[in-house]
Symmetry: C2
Subunit: 200 residues, 2 copies
């Protein structure tokens, strides 16, 4: 879908302007590279085995990226809502089969940019190198923190950190999905919540 509606880009442009300043011509050019896609709840944006040909900006809704292990259990790599980027970066960078599924936990809309367009964008407006460096840097720091928390905290502590850090997710993401993100079973999370309620 090609885009014309200006409102569509408010969020992503606000996002970008927090890190780099763009001329109107640069904005127009950037927007011309984007496509949009709407997803119904449960619909796939990407399936493992596909090549991830885009980076996705979540304009509306809620998505998850996850892998399925040998026993068929899902493990959530990333949750994202409006304003977040999502994708399978390794697949995107190397052009190899994706390891992750991405699907919608709510009816959603993403803006996407494919690899050629992105390289083109880097060449034409080098400031975007800076923008994506910063975005990725922040994602990297958050992921490192998650590694350390997985190593050093028990399930209850991780859950408390999670709802404290991402209150929006606690509202919008089903418990079994939060459990998957935390690396525990839905049964365990249910028990943890009961205990926390008892403590109060």
């Amino acid at each position: 879908m090609k885009l014309t509606n200006k409102d569509t880009f408010e969020l992503i442009l606000a996002n970008i302007s927090r890190h780099i300043k763009l001329e109107q011509s640069e904005i127009d050019y950037f927007i011309s590279l984007l496509k949009s896609r709407k997803l119904k709840k449960k619909q796939y944006l990407l399936q493992a085995g596909d090549i991830c040909r885009n980076e996705y900006f979540i304009n509306k809704g809620c998505l998850r990226a996850y892998s399925t292990d040998d026993e068929g259990v899902d493990h959530i790599l990333q949750l994202g809502i409006e304003g977040w980027w999502i994708g399978d970066m390794y697949s995107f960078l190397t052009g190899t089969a994706a390891n992750y599924h991405i699907d919608a936990l709510e009816d959603s809309e993403v803006l996407m940019i494919d690899k050629n367009s992105l390289e083109e964008l880097y060449k034409t407006v080098p400031k975007f190198e800076r923008f994506f460096r910063i975005i990725i840097q922040n994602a990297f720091v958050a992921t490192q923190r998650r590694v350390i928390e997985n190593l050093s905290e028990d399930a209850e502590e991780r859950y408390l950190q999670f709802i404290n850090r991402y209150p929006a997710f606690e509202q919008r993401v089903p418990q079994n999905q939060i459990a998957s993100y935390l690396g525990i079973t839905p049964e365990s999370l249910s028990r943890i919540r009961r205990q926390l309620a008892a403590k109060k």
Copy 2:
């Protein structure tokens, strides 16, 4: 320490030239921003609570970045040898107190660039935005994979993945440090290794 010896920069320049092409003048300028530091085994490069004022390129040796939890147990966020970057990126970016210690597992040498110099470098030679974007992107992808492996694999699988992916570490890093990286106790790793040896 200010630098003059050309050999000192071979590794880092080779590293950089894999991603961006530099003019001699740009190389000279970049090098002028670097400082070097030698570390004896067990010596700190950074302590939690300090502000991490540099990004560090490991020119020689082996370092670890780790946090210490409430019970005094260490958890290794990152291991690195020659050719790897290391630091506490959150502290570096925000100027806040570091959460991680970094110290040397072997006598080591790092090249370092401070924040002002790096921003200066980005301004003067924007190609470095690209270079660090790529470096961070790769680190991000690797860290995401680690999250998923921590969520989906048991201790034995994670250990096998580890020695397969980082054979150099198996040689150079003590077992209790590998255990810490994998998120298990040294005792558990010892038992896992015994079982693996028995299977053969």
